[in-house]
Amino acid sequence: MKTRYKAIMVAALLATGACKKDSEFLDVPPKQVIPTETLFSDPVLVLSALANLYSRQLDFSSLDDGWATFVDFSEAFPSENGSSFFVQRNGWGYGEWGNWDYTYIRELNLFIQRASASTKLSDADKSRFLAEARFLRANFYFELVKRMGGVPLVTEASEEIQDPLTLQKPRAKESEVYDFIISEAEAIKNVLPTNADEKGRATKGAALAMETRAALYAGSIAKYGTTTPQVTLPGNEVGIPNTLANGYYTKALAAAQQIISGSAGAYALYQGQTDLSENFAAIFYDKSTKNKESIFIEDFKIGTQKKHSFTVNDQPYSSREEGSDAGRLNPSLNLVEAFEKLDNTYAPLATTDGSGNPIYYTDQKDIFAGRDARLAGTVITPGSTFKAQPLDIWAGYQLADGSVFSSNDASILRALPGTTASVQVIGNDGPANSKELRTQTGFYIRKYLDPSTGSGRRGTGSDVPFIRYRYAEVLLNACEAAFELGNNGLALTYINQVRSRAGLTTPLTELSFDRIVHERRVELVFEGHTLYDMKRWRLAHIVWDGTQMTVADLKSNIGSAKKRNTQPYGLWPYKYYNPGNTNNGKWLFKEVRPSLVTGANTFRLGNYYSQISNDILSANPKLVKQPNQ
């Protein structure tokens, strides 16, 4: 009985198993991979594929663990002992900033091909997805051309394995890559949604903002490239002929004006807070619909994997929310003194009077008074507050005999001469040389710092977005393009809008190239523009010329586009100790070069375009090498 039962069972199993055709035996549908046809039949799945492509965009700076990408170029000092190399090296390698990520381009091309071939998506979905992928591709080519000059323009991908020789493409001219970006932006701008509140995904505003910046870069390379004839290649893979400059400037102005006129959505400068400095800082942390300034951002969300540690890394030391994470990014005095006075003039911060005697201030804040509101919106200065906590920045006591009485940590108390009680002789927030995680220049970064509680904890993090394109830059692009085209009146209306928002209410009546360079520096510093602006104006090898700086250098020629900026300086406050003197307890300031700063930045001509590595050159003999390398 038992045997028979078993036999029936076996027979039944055999019979059911045998129903499968032999040919299907190996044809098992994958369980981890979504087949192409399935993916491109459902808009939700397509969006998730697109989200992956969005997340792989390339930026110069990144907020997550990327404080170090902001710290270079003497605009800031790295207060982390392992990162001192930024201020100890004499320059950059030829490969610095290079990128050759054709894997990403291939995947964008495949996405475009597959989405075009799809028959199951609605027309509206399909055209938007295609336009978004084309935006990402154009924006990535923009990143490549900024770094490498002309690169091979690959806009098609094959799913089959081909003869590698047919895949080897020569470098396009630098101007052809810019033309590609501009024409793609023109082609997709009316397909993308017109919505000023859509910031994470590509919109008409984002496409036009990319177009105006790209055209401006191309125009300035054409115009200012004549000053560095060495930085060109005979085939124009690097360098744009001078005759094309006006054409690009015209396109840059036209694209910017489409945004300014409101045809791409209701973008506007962020305004409304009475404190203009707080207003400027809020551009970066206010994510409500009140913020019509940011156009295209990298967004973050607390409670997910997509959060960042910018506030953790860079918060003031005294009010830190995490044991030993703070104060890494210290803006330099070079940058701070570039913020002009409210009467539109430049002046160094007044530390000494005409005869060289120190000036005594009752309040630390007084030395920074009467300056561009963007100063306090970008930099935390001594005497200010963050998260309602006052900063404690001072380097020690200045004694009447000229010596300094200090220690290198606020927890080390000392008795002042003639007293017995031990007191604190240096600020909790620094500055002291080589004392990492607190300021060594006297300043902390304010831009991108998240004022919400918990943003300085590693576990919580911050969701302040990184702004890739914003309205103030569009205005400055329009200003520069109009200026280069000789239309100063129009240029002034644009630049004065940006300036009046910052409290510089006396409008400029004359415009110069140096003014534009200066305005972009103070408005857009730490947003990934510094290097590319200096490159396209061909100022990089002049500003970073490898010569050590003196205090006299630092304090002179402020506002000049060619001002040397090779080493970050600091401004250290001291408390005057001289009982009985009227100045006792007042503040004086000294310009200091942090002792870790030993190198001086040298931008070599070969740094203008990053090196193409030997691997890439030998895989494709049609590529020509960069100049001066």
Binding site: G546, T547, R604, L605, D615, K625, N628, Q629
Partner: protein
Amino acid sequence: MKYKYSFIILFAIMWAITACKKDTYDAPSVTLKGRLVYNGEPINVEFNQVPFQLYQPGFGKTGAIVGTFGQDGSYSTLLFSGNYKMIIPNGQGPFRWNENQTTSQRDTLAVNVSGDQTLDINVTPYYLINNSQITAANNIVTAKFDISKVITDANARDIERVTLFINKTQFVSGGDNVVQTSIEGSAITGLQNLSITTAIPALTPTQNYVFARVGLKIAGLEDLIFSPLVKVTF
């Protein structure tokens, strides 16, 4: 037992034979060295800033062996024997070398390396600093020198500036110095009997000598040409 013994011999022989084969390649051992010269006179440049590249075609991927010239224009590299092509990349160095007449791009120099050899590279500098005399007295360093313009045809370039550099160590250039003093090219009227003086700053730790040399910046080129290095005691 005999049976086992023969195996042992066999193993010993096999081990001995295979072990004869070396398991790595020889390191490159042939020295190619030389200097940058003009009419036999060395060309002084900045340390580590003027590169040269050696290519050896015929071995799969192409890629350069990169070296740089020393302060006194010397170079030295260890290679395998073979045929190489040498270039000094376009735009590098304060001189003209091997420029193609029509494209004005630099050509390659074929180098056959078969044994240790010295290969001086003849270049044509735009300018030379001659008869330089650097002396120190009372904490002041004085450099006296002449300049001669070597390239005077259509390729001639102007002097941007002439600078006296001083450093604590023997590496003296725009990137390595404790003090530098320049005269702008526009302020130079004659090329003979030029002089630059500069005060020696406080040195820590104190030392009673400095290294000094004069660098000449040529308009439109980033590499300077220098006078010979001098150690001056004060």
